[in-house]
Amino acid sequence: MDIGPQIVIKFDNGIFITNTVCFGIIVAVILIVLALWSTRRMKKVPDGKQVIAEVVVEGVYNMVKATMGPKAINYAPYIGTLFFFVLLSNMLGLFGQRPVTADVNTTFALAAITFVLIQRQALKSYGLIGKMKEMAQPYPFMFPLKIIEQLSFPISLSFRLFGNILGGVIVIEMLLGGLATASEALHLPIPLLDAVIPLPANFFFDVFEPVLQAFIFTMLTMVFITMEIATRDEEH
């Protein structure tokens, strides 16, 4: 069984493009087109597509305000984009494609962006010296431990999303393969077994799990950025 991403295009100089990259770009283009299309010809009294767009944007802003506080409302566009990109990438299994997030490169890139944002917010809150002081907080010898803690956050964040989605992909593939073998052994004219039986599994791994994982990914991002804001307010 081949569970890794497939190489789609291979150039002569050894550079190759996998289907992760292709579908990542497709997902991004879909999101951009949807955003541009739903905000075309906006009216004072919204109707049709504008209502849905306003509900979505307002929901994201309210969630960010509730979790991170009104001071951090500038993070709302990033959080919303992250949520919908991860959601759509996870759900590609519904369309018979390999989910983009079942590749550790994608999830690690997303987690790296979050890591940079966290460090940027920490520098903004404390300054470089203050951050160093804060990291040596209970005892100075804790400093290396704190560095490891900071560095392990993006790794655990990326592996959490990657492992969950890849697990779903493997389970679905095993289920489909086993049922296909079974319906072949029963000499069914139509492959009935692998057409109907995987539906609940599909629902769980391609609808429920993507929503949950996208929510958890954005939620942990918000919580960890908020931690760098909240501690500053306590000191003042």
């Binding site: 592996f159 959490r160 492992g163 958890i216």
Partner: protein, 87 residues
């Protein structure tokens, strides 16, 4: 018994065993941990039904953090099965 067990076969056998043991024990621990979190959340909802949304959110995030060890075990299993460094 004409066939002999080759070293490669032994490596594959113990890799499969290691993958199973790794994910199995991790799943045991996670099951207990997530169950504890869920039971406390249910107790909280029973005591204070109006805080259901907040409790659900906190429970899900806590369970996701609990799950991390299991995901690491899962990745160890995947590496042992599909990208074996010894064989």
């Amino acid at each position: 018994m004409s066939s002999q067990i080759t070293p490669e076969a032994l490596i594959y056998a113990f890799s499969a065993l290691g993958a199973a043991v790794s994910i199995g024990f991790a799943a045991l621990g996670i099951g207990i941990g997530q169950g504890l979190a869920a039971s406390r959340a249910v107790e909280g909802v029973g005591r204070q039904p109006e805080a259901k949304g907040d409790l659900l959110q906190v429970m899900l995030v806590g369970q996701a953090v609990t799950e991390t060890t299991g995901i690491f075990a899962f990745i160890v299993s995947i590496v042992l099965l599909f990208a074996n460094p010894f064989a």
